[in-house]
């Protein structure tokens, strides 16, 4: 199908969608005047009922905890599928160097650059952990902090190059982190069931408002989600980076 035919097919679809969108836009409440009673109720009740100052986190891990469990399993499924697809025909072997295109500039890794990248990687990792731990108190939480911590791994690649990155990161460890984080969440849902409560019922002491430990069971779920997100995004970065490695046994050309 050429682009022209695609556009001809698209036109009636856009006409129908445009009519539907116009109807919906005119029917929606005016911007800035919401009718959401649920949100207002959560805003009033969350600090009093759960001692948590971040209402978004309390919705995510407590009031709609099962929903987030579903979202996290979607994340794990997508990451697992991507890793399987990438590993599929490649196998798990390693080579020492990344592939590179002829004609690209080749920069050597100086000691100062390696040192700076490692320092910054540590700082970014610590910042990610900080964001995870303060999810109950200030903006942040397992999802955001986990991604920040996982992005620190790329600094190791920038500093040390391919071989160093492969020596420092192990795919098994990352995948184990991913699974362990998801297991923590599932256990948080299942253990209260075993004692006759509802799933994900907040059975732990709630802690104090504005404190690092506030929100009871939410703290554990938050850390579990953080671990799972670090593992899954780290595994994704590692497997994608593996795709760019040089073919086995073939020497690098043009490298000095």
């Amino acid at each position: 199908m050429t682009t022209r035919w695609r556009l001809i097919v698209l036109l009636p679809a856009f006409l129908a969608l445009g009519a539907a969108a116009a109807t919906i836009i005119l029917g929606l409440p005016a911007f800035g005047h919401p009718l959401t009673r649920y949100g207002t109720a959560v805003n009033t009740l969350a600090p009093a009922l759960r001692n948590v100052s971040n209402a978004v986190t309390s919705v995510m891990y407590d009031f709609r905890g099962i929903d987030t469990l579903g979202e996290e399993s979607m994340l794990i499924c997508a990451v697992t599928a991507a890793v399987m697809l990438l590993r599929g025909r490649r196998g798990e072997g390693e080579t020492e160097s990344a592939g590179r295109l002829p004609g690209r500039a080749w920069a050597d890794h100086t000691d100062s650059m390696v040192l700076m990248c490692r320092l910054f990687a540590t700082t970014v990792l610590l910042f990610g952990v900080y964001v995870v731990l303060h999810g109950m108190v200030t903006p942040g939480g397992g999802f955001q902090g986990g991604v920040i911590a996982a992005s620190s791994f790329t600094l190791l690649y920038l500093g040390g190059g391919y071989a160093v990155w492969r020596r420092m990161l192990h795919s098994q460890a990352l995948v184990a982190l991913e699974g362990a984080g998801a297991l923590v969440y599932v256990l948080c849902a299942a253990v209260p069931l075993a004692f006759g409560y509802a799933a994900l019922q907040n059975v732990l002491p709630l802690g104090t408002w504005k404190d690092l430990y506030s929100g009871g069971l939410m703290v554990i779920i938050n850390i579990g989600v953080g671990i799972a997100v670090i593992g899954s995004f780290g595994a994704l970065l590692l497997e994608f980076m593996e795709e760019t490695r040089a073919p086995k046994g073939k020497p690098e050309e043009g490298e000095t």
Partner: protein, 116 residues
């Protein structure tokens, strides 16, 4: 002003679909898909927004001050992370397509051909 936000949502969705339909490169197509996804974020946050309200974090201001809807924010938050993982999955599929077929142009791909 009151319909501008919803018009932007419709525009983002429409532009994303247009990009997907006319795309000649699968990686470009995945980028257009993420524009479509951003339409849902703007829609959800626009529905939860309230004039004169603060963020739903009661650290500096005491509970009881007006704040925007936290429920839609929780939905968007997980949505962003999951959609990133979905983009990664689609990129992995695109890589496999390129390995097996040698092209990433949807017009040069023929379906259901045995792998040679």
């Amino acid at each position: 002003m009151s319909v501008l936000a919803w018009c932007v949502v419709a525009w983002l969705l429409g532009v994303g679909i247009y990009g997907i339909v006319t795309s000649r490169h699968f990686v470009h197509l995945i980028g257009c898909l993420s524009v479509c996804q951003s339409a849902t974020y703007v829609l959800l946050l626009g529905i939860g927004f309230r004039w004169g309200a603060g963020p739903p974090i009661f650290y500096d201001h005491p509970p009881g001050t007006p704040a925007v809807d936290p429920v839609v924010q929780a939905l968007v938050l997980t949505d962003i992370v999951v959609s990133a993982a979905m983009s990664a999955l689609l990129l992995a599929i695109a890589l496999q397509v390129h390995k097996r077929r040698g092209t990433l142009d949807p017009q040069h791909l023929r379906p259901l051909r045995p792998f040679e």
